[in-house]
Symmetry: none
Subunit: 540 residues, 2 copies
């Protein structure tokens, strides 16, 4: 590897610009203003905010960022393009807008594939190089640090290496601080990247700062970034959670975790005595997911909810004794946790670990541990799964510890009616009636909904909220149905998993029954019980 | 690269075993029996079905697979472990069960990290090597092809190369056909893998078949697999959609697409004249997602819904003119499509092909083909999927050809009531009333069931069977529910897929609605219609 640990390494985040190209993502100015400080806290060196001038929302972001944001680690970067063919950079309003954004850093996208120059830009190779040189020089004269984003560089280099190389050299000669080599179409594999970066490193000399910007179309974005670093790049671009167009950009979180933990390169800036850095990785990944409103991917390296979750029951006791043998890094390094999944291979060891995770010490109570293990095995044989339903597992545990689960209410009966009066296309109606006792009262409540579960959910909440106003803030955010042993058709067992939130945390419960509604009712009531208990509510 | 294109390359799928370790995944025997033929159709060489003997469900899978599955490309593999320390393989019931499974291939997990041998297995390095040699030799004598899964190989090699190398050599010397080098904890990066495989290749000689089994904990599973192939592995293991414990296994779909499209290695087996191979990649990925009931990840390389989706921006017209400039491979290579706008994947060509498959020639009727394509696009945008519901697609086609679907009955109304009178543990009751017109009569029928869908199914059959006695033989054999857009909780759209049989063939229909019962009703009635039509019944 040619990168000494002392190289001032640049971590360049483009979540707010290239990440926002993801299908279904639509970031508002306030979303961007909320994400940027989290990126700064993580310790990236650059935050690319958008394309001022071209995108009105981005123009406003830079205006507000200049006033409202005060970074401790990062520099703000504006993204834009080289000037139009046949003009001067100083006269190009798009280039002007980059200066007007007042961002200290400008990332300039510039074509580095002759085919794109000729067929998309419809100009000559020479004019494109003049456009790079002129625009970079202008921005440098205006006091900006310039990063050239060498668009389609790798594909271009494989087609015509001399042209792509000349374009890179033109950027450096005009004063660019960095040229970031882009795999814009994302189809490279690591050895191709390594070979090409190695050749370019030879052409630009040892002092020029080369960067890498990878997309994940071949599933190699993270590895391509590492390969580029090994071959001499000291500037890496990427996005949080790998957001981006098509298959996304290189996931910057995995890239920095790999560089710090596998390569020993301290690439994140961390301010002494302040939180931030790699140990905040998981928290920041999830906080940004909340803002983008894109569910976190459980299998994400390092930060995913499943990233350090172990299912293998047979190994549970060995994992407990020697966790390092079963994980590639200590999850604490990235602010994540090891989790033991309660699966159908659940042994006492994994139940004990799970209990500890939830704050119950079962180690000193072998008889209790045995009872809980038997209950879990029995429940799982009947179709329950606690792996994705910690709240239900906790209620089971409480039942064994206290002899009963918390009694916030007592159900007398419930009923749902769904009917459709008419042929194909006529909508059906659903209603549910719940009768229960809570706070010394008998409560009868009827709810409507677009389906029977929805109606039951409404009826239950309506009944309970008068006694337990805390329920007002609860919201059902996920509902999953699974038919078990499908060979019996509608006679099969139904399992329902629901996830509820109170705005601060979320929890999951499971219900099982021969009937979707019975299963849903169990999960809904357990969810209400767990939520009330964790809000510190006393049963009335 | 040291792999000539002529090497008989082995693609080894472990979705049904290692993939099933994923958090939240729980495959039934019938799920596995449904997934295996799809893997075979894709053209993998090996399908690892589970651990017979250790997991009762897997024992049953192998029993049923031997009778029910007939692969055209793949060999079935059973997974198991080396014998216990201090015993003989021939006496070990776990090893015996592998032979009893009748799978022609056995994958034998064997420790290759001395620390695991001493600390988890609590035996000596020498005894572990004896366990490998004895178990492999026993299985080979029993006529099995043996793949050794060299567990924790890379971590072990970095700790004590001599020991891990000796274990690999012991496997080959005892007659193993393949030793698959496992990055069990998933923390490797490509250059580490390449260096180690290169060293092992030197130790085992050019003819030994080395394999690679990677996990994605550093985000490099696909790249690590490619690095291993470049360094001389000719056997790759992985799972569909990258399913697996923690961050998952190497995504076998991306691996084979990269090997075929980037490296020019024709690794999938394809039977002349039959569908299958790389162009079926996207369809098979999604069909397997339906069975596992795990939402497909839109950003998956090659097969994701977003993988070739371009946000229609500045480049839209350039992309349309010159798509090759903007995509790393032609999406048709993997059965996917470029998308410019929010739209579905159904193109006219695939609709035409599907029609032909069902016996309708749409090629000569471009206007009809256009109408059907529009209907399908519209329906898919509303949550329908026809990939696993041929019967529903056929009814849609008939509607466009004949102006209406076959009219066996006309529904006036239906209603379901589910109620539970009592607390936890009291069973609920469900009944449904259906009013419909058939054979010139108005029929009112009430059915009971253990749930509302079951009750509706009973009421519908009871109503119709007097007019259409053929319905007597119909049986519902599968019922799947999927909640779409789960961010809205119970307000979301529900999709139901059902499979019906008449004892001779089976067919599948889909229903979608804001309400589970509406969706189920649509699927149930379409299923009855399709079944009656294909029994040659005339509407009365």
């Amino acid at each position: 590897m040619s990168v000494p640990a002392s190289t001032p390494f640049q971590v360049y985040d483009t979540t707010l610009r290239d990440g926002a190209q993801q299908e279904g993502m639509n970031l508002s100015v306030s979303d961007k203003l909320a994400i940027a400080p989290l990126l700064d806290e993580l310790g990236v060196g650059f935050i690319e905010g958008g394309w001022p001038g071209a995108v009105p929302k981005d123009t406003e972001f830079f205006k507000r960022a200049a006033k409202e944001l005060d970074f401790r680690n990062a520099e703000l970067a504006a993204f834009g393009s080289t000037r139009k063919a046949g003009t001067r950079a100083v006269d190009d309003p798009q280039v002007r807008a980059l200066v007007d954004s007042e961002a200290p850093v400008v990332a300039l996208v510039a074509k580095h594939d002759l085919r794109h120059v000729e067929r998309a830009l419809r100009t000559t190779g020479d004019e494109n190089i003049a456009m790079i040189a002129d625009t970079v020089a202008f921005l440098v004269r205006e006091g900006r640090r310039v990063v050239v984003d060498a668009e389609h560089f790798f594909d271009g280099y494989r087609f015509d290496p001399a042209y792509s190389r000349a374009a890179v050299l033109a950027g450096f000669e005009a004063g660019a601080e960095v040229v970031a080599l882009c795999d814009t179409n994302g189809g490279m594999v690591p050895t191709w990247v390594a070979d090409i970066v190695h050749e370019i490193r030879g052409a630009v000399g040892p002092d020029a700062v080369l960067g890498i910007h990878a997309h994940n179309d071949s599933g190699c974005a993270i590895a391509n970034t590492l390969a580029a670093v090994e071959a001499g790049c000291t500037h890496v671009q990427g996005t949080v959670n790998g957001y981006g167009e098509r298959t996304g950009n290189a996931d910057l979180l995995s890239v920095v975790a790999n560089l710090q933990l596998k390569y020993g390169l301290p690439v994140l800036k961390v301010s002494e005595g302040l939180p931030g850095g790699l140990t905040e990785l998981t928290r920041i990944a999830h906080a940004i997911s909340e803002i983008t409103n894109i569910s976190p991917f459980a299998r994400s390296p390092y930060v995913g909810a499943s990233a350090f979750a172990h299912k293998a029951g047979l190994h549970a006791s060995a994992i407990r004794v020697d966790p390092d043998l079963y994980q590639h890094t200590d999850p604490a390094n990235v602010g994540n946790d090891m989790r033991m999944l309660i699966s159908d291979m659940a042994g006492r060891a994994s139940i004990e670990l799970k209990g500890r995770e939830l704050g119950f010490d079962l180690a000193g109570r072998p008889e209790l541990l045995g009872r809980v293990t038997d209950r879990v095995k029995d429940a799982e044989a009947n179709g329950y799964t606690y792996e994705a339903a910690d709240a239900s597992f906790e209620l089971l545990l409480l039942e064994e510890i206290d002899g009963q689960r918390p009694q916030f209410f007592r159900v007398e009966s419930w009923r749902t009616i769904v009917e459709r009066s008419g042929g194909r296309g006529t909508p059906a109606t659903a209603e549910a009636t719940v009768k229960l006792h809570a706070g010394g009262e008998r409560i009868v409540s009827t709810g409507e909904g677009n389906g029977p579960v929805n109606a039951l959910d409404h009826a239950l909440r309506q009944a309970l909220v008068t006694v337990y106003p805390e329920l007002e803030s609860f919201e059902l955010i996920d509902f999953k149905v699974r038919i078990l042993d499908s060979m019996h058709g509608t006679d099969a067992i139904t399992r329902v998993l629901i996830e509820m939130t109170d705005g601060q945390r979320s929890w999951s419960t499971v219900g099982v029954g021969p009937n979707l509604l019975e299963a849903s009712w169990e999960a809904l009531t357990d969810s209400a019980i767990w939520g009330l208990r964790h809000r510190g509510v006393t049963p009335l």
